[in-house]
Every structure is written in C-alpha cells, then in structure tokens.
Symmetry: C3
Subunit: 272 residues, 3 copies
C-alpha cells in the first residue's frame, strides 16, 4: 500500500474531528452544493461575500476558498480583501478559476488574484490551467473542451510561478508542485455530468488544507476522498439526479478503511 | 404517428451530439436546477450575469436565456446588453417573464425587453402571458392563479406583436405562433409542486433552439421531452423531494424511441 | 393527547387549503431549499430582494421572512423597507438572524432590524439567541458552538424586549414568549448535518403564521410539523444527500393524523 494512503485516511478523521470553519466565497449557482459538501464532511461552511463583512468572516475561518464563477467587480474586490486577510493570518487560500478565459473580465480578475495574493492550492480543469499558463486550452461554457498538450508541464509552470500546489481536474486528477506529480485515479464519469462537483471539490480541499500543513498532502487527500466517494455514488446512482444525493451520502459514510482499500494514487509518468 | 414526433426524436440526439453552450441569465433561486438540467441534457451551461462580462459570454454561446426572476436594475441592464449581442449575432433568445405583474419593476423591465430585443421564444404561465397581453391573469407569488379566458388568442396576440413563438405552460402546454397552435399533453402534477421546473424548461428550450433553426419545432421539442421526462419521473417519485432527482435521471435516460412512443402532441382545437 | 396537537393538525390543513403567499427575503445559499419547502407545503413562495420591488411584493404577500444569511447593505435596506410595509399592513414578520455575531456588519444590521421593525417571531440557534441578548454564545461558521447557560431565560429576555415569540433551535426546539415555554421534541440529527434546514424552518413558520393569528401557536405548529417530517425522513435516508429529498417528501405526505400521533410537545421545565 502506498504509505500516503494511510496519511489520507488519517486526514479524513482529522477533518471530522476538528470541524474546520471554511469561508467559501463561491458562485451563486453552486453555493448550496458547496455548503452541503462541507457540512457532510463535518466542516463548518460560511459563504459570506459582502465587502462589509469578509474581513471578520475570514478572521474567524480556518481556510478560504476563492471561486471565480459568476464574478462581479464587488465580489472580486471582496475576494482580494479576504485573501489578504487570510495571507496575513497564515491561513490556506484555495483558488478555483472557474471559466477563466470565458471573458476578459475573468482573465483580469485572475491576474489580480495571482499577482496580489499568496495562494496555497489552485484547482482548475485543463482548459483553465492552460489559460492561466498560456499553454493553450478552450472552454465550452465553463467546461474544458481542449487543454495544454502536456498537462504536467502546464501544472509545473503554474506551480513555480505561484508557489501553489496545482490540481488539474479531469477523468483522472493530476496534482503537481515543483517537485513531483501525482495522479489520483478515483472518480466516475457522472461527476462531469452534474453541476457543482468542481466547486464542491475546491471547498473540500480547503477543509483538508485547514487541518494539514503540507498543501500537497491536503490536495491529494481531498481529491482522493472526493473521487472515491464519487466512484461509489456512481455505482449506486441511476443518473445525474440521484447521483448528487448519493455523492453526499457516500462522502458521509466514507471510512478510513475505505480510503485504505479504495484510493488509487500513483506517480505521474505518462500523459493523462 | 405524428411526423413531428420523429423530428423531436432527432432533435434530442442533436442536442446531445452538438452540446450547445447556453448562456442562462437566470434568477438566483433556481440557478443550480438550470445548470443541472442543461448538463444532464449534454448542453454546456454558463450563468454569468455581470454587466462587465455578458458581452463576452453571449458572444461564445449558442443561445441566450433571459429569466426575469429575482431581478435587479443591474441584472436587467445586463440582460438587455446580452440580448442585443445575441440579436446581432443571430443567436436565439428565450425570454421567461417570471412573476411579471408581481411588481411594477418587473412590468417595466419586461416592457424594455419586449421593445428593445428580438425574442425567439417566450415562455410563461397563463397569468404571465395574460399580463403581457393585457388579457387578464393573476399571480400568487410567481404561480398562476388565474389567466386569460382564451389562452390561444392571448398567445397569438403576443406572437404577432413580438414575432416570437409563445409557450403557455400549465397542466398541458400550449405552443403558438401566428399560424398554428399545438398542445403538448405530456407532464405530471408534481412538476407544478417543485420550484424550478419552469426555469429548467426555459433553459432546455434554449438548448433545443441552439440546434434547430425553426423556433416552433425547437419549442415543441423541448416542451415535449421535458414533459415526457416529468411524466416518467412522476411515476417513480414518492414526493416533490425525490421528484427533482428523478426528473434529471429521466431526462438523462430519455431515448429517441421513448420520444417516438411517449410524446403526445396535438393541434389545439379546444380550450385547454 | 395534548390539546395543542389537535390545533396543529388543523393548522397543517389550513396552510394547504389557503396556500399563503410567503415573501422570503433569504440568503442565496438556501433559496432553492426555501422555495421548495414552501411549495411542498402548498404555500406560494416569492424570493424578491431588490429595493425596487420589495414594496410591491410584500404588499401582495401573506407573510414576510427576513433571513440575515449572506447580507449586503442593499439587502438589509430592502429588508427594512419590506418589513415596514408588512408592519403597516399587519402581516407577520419572521426574523432569522443567521450568523449574527459572525461579523460586526451582521450585528449592526440586526440592531437596525430589531429597533425599527415589529417582529412576530424570531428563530435562531442558541449561539444566535445568546448573541442577541448578550447572554453568551459562540458560532463556528453559522453553526452554534456554545450558547447561553439558561436558554429559557435568554428566550424570555428577547421576547420581552421585542414582543416576539422566540424559537431557539437545537436538538430539541424551545418556543418561548413572555408567559410560557414549550419544548418540541421532534427532530433528527441529520437535520443539523445538511445546509438549509434552519432557513427552511423559518419559511415554514411564516406560512403557518400567515394562517394563524396567534404567533405562539403558529411557531409551535411549524416547528412540530417540520421536526416530525425530519424524524420520518431521517429513518428513510441513507445520509445527508438522500435526507434532503426525503425531508420534502415526508413533509408533503404528512397528514393531520400523523401530527396527532407523532408530535411531542411539552412544557419546558428542565434545561434543554
């Protein structure tokens, strides 16, 4: 067994035990999914977005999520403010550049966020990561249509530029920092056919990063637990409608032993 | 078999194959439902609403939905901007006047939208369509309490004024343009007892209109597929909670053969 | 049998028969849950929040909900405007101070609401009620971590200050006015592990208050019916995902006889 799997099993218990408060500044489409996945995991969500209160909210949170979906200028300003606060307090900041490239406004907002904040973990699909690194990629809506030729290189470039761990989501998820690249092979096709799984994952990553100081470990752990829960939910669901409920149930029921027997992580050595 | 049913079966396949990008400017209550129904159908949703990015988003979308629920002045301004863009590019624009008549603000916003944009399809309940045509109708919240005496005439009036195809939703759905009126008899009572089915339908109509040049055909096709899926979901659900999940599952599983055997469309010749 | 239980059974029928319009000014995270629970119960939701239309919307509603989650200055201003209108028209106003204490902004907004409006029913968790009365209490996110030592006294203090009936939600729910305190013992642990149950309850309370002139009776009735539905849903659900759907189904299926045999309400005479 990969020794890392044991660490992930322990992390799952830690999240449930310590119940971290996650300040999720997320889009209005998937807010309910995000709050539910955090609650299901034992974490404590708060989804405040107003400039007038984000300082207070972030100050009392154990991790911060910045999700670029459905952005407005006010939202982006509040994200920067919350992000500065989290940086000052040394709390992990997770960035999910939803649909970057879909508009000039999202590109500019992302540039501000990347240049002004210290990000802990960045998670995007291959088109979004391609866009952030200028290595190519196209979106259809907020879904990836194409991505960079070499995902690992794209991830490494972004990781070196930002010092963040980079997660490239897809059929298999790739987790990269400057030193290594890991593939998490858990997951299920239905995860790509419902809205909100990407945003849910970003929130889970924050919950894991709140209780684990090494971002690479937190990232792999969250991706693996979510993928494993998705896998099990996929076997029970009859379609994308029942899948969402089964996903939360599976995550809720996930045990450390499930993690030990079901998580599949490997060093990346071939194109994903 | 009605030859139109064969066209609808083909349309269902077309949506799944071509995966149109739908820019849905919808209300914050049902955004998740709207995005999920589009994903379930194979379409690619994006729900951007900010004035700063709607031009870019609409430019890359195959169809646009303007949903009047929970409006704000900024939202309405952004809708007009996106609508102009879609008109310029010749993309279909679907308008859903949710709760028009519930406030002076919604009436004025609707007047602007009707006078400044070229709409492809308008979908409302009988109270909303009555309100738009001055033929009578009252809302309770955003649900219809009463409607015009003659629904077909109300639909025809609105269609002549706007050149749009008009859908009047209800127990049976009526689809009208200047030349004909068709009743779609599929559906299930539970569809009226959950939030979001109307907004979901508007989004589906946009996905169909994105792949079918004749608005009348796209409208009938979307209404029929959604109604048929609702019917099947209604038979499996135990109440409004499980119904929503079953509705997405049924839509996901719907085959061209299901359409051929299950869709019931007829010329309208008696009061609905 | 407690004679009140018979009154509650009757109230349940009244809500379904009279289908009150509830103007729910609620947060964007749980808007869909709130609209769904109202629809499920036979009520008619409308979730308008814009300053430009709240006067019209409240004027046509039978009850108003002010929910403090995800507040903005515009939202708070619109809440005050809607609240004044409801006060003028003598319609019940339900206040849910979600996450008060999580930020200075929410504390100030609450102070305005308490000082300027006549509230019919206030519902919060023990930390929120503690915060409102200065009797102690801490939040983790928007969930209660600790509360006042004596919940009944906290509730009575707030009820005397505001003339409102006060509901303190928790494992068991406490309903208090200046004269008596009642414990509703229905409920299920899963209700605390999904997002939105608190907001759903506030909306249900409004639906009950719309058809019952005595706030104490309306409050106990809504809390009891929701708790009983939650109990039944909890026995059928496999986790927090399936629970949400089962909760709506259970509420939909709840009969006056279920209420008579299942509701457990008692005078409060020991610490909850």
């Amino acid at each position: 067994m990969n020794p890392r799997v044991d660490v992930i099993a322990h992390l799952l218990e830690q999240v449930r035990e310590r119940q971290p408060v996650v300040h999720a500044m997320t889009n209005w489409v998937t807010g309910s999914d995000v709050a539910n996945v955090l609650h299901t995991m034992g974490a404590r969500p708060i989804l405040a977005v107003a400039l007038e209160e984000v300082m207070d909210i972030t100050s009392n949170a154990d991790a911060l999520v910045l999700n670029l979906g459905t952005p407005t200028p006010q939202r982006v300003e509040a994200m920067l403010k919350a992000g500065h606060r989290a940086n000052t307090l040394g709390r992990p900041v997770i960035f999910d550049p939803v649909g970057v490239g879909a508009s000039r406004f999202r590109i500019d907002a992302t540039r501000h966020i990347l240049s002004k904040l210290r990000l802990t973990i960045i998670k995007g699909n291959r088109a979004e990561i391609g866009m952030l690194t200028g290595t190519g990629g196209q979106l259809r809506g907020v879904d990836a249509a194409t991505g960079p030729e070499d995902l690992r290189i794209a991830g490494e470039v972004l990781s070196r530029q930002t010092k963040a761990v980079v997660i490239i989501s897809g059929q298999h998820d790739l987790v990269v920092d400057g030193e290594e690249a890991v593939v998490v092979e858990n997951g299920h096709p239905l995860m790509g056919q419902v809205t909100g799984t990407g945003c849910m994952l970003s929130a889970l990553i924050a919950a894991f990063a709140a209780v684990e100081a090494k971002p690479m470990v937190a990232a792999i752990g969250a991706v693996a637990c979510f993928g494993l829960a998705g896998e099990r939910a996929g076997h029970r669901a009859r379609g994308p409608g029942t899948f969402k409920a089964e996903l939360l149930d599976s995550l809720f029921a996930l045990t450390p032993d499930d993690v030990r027997s079901g998580v599949r992580i490997n060093p990346f050595d071939s194109p994903v």
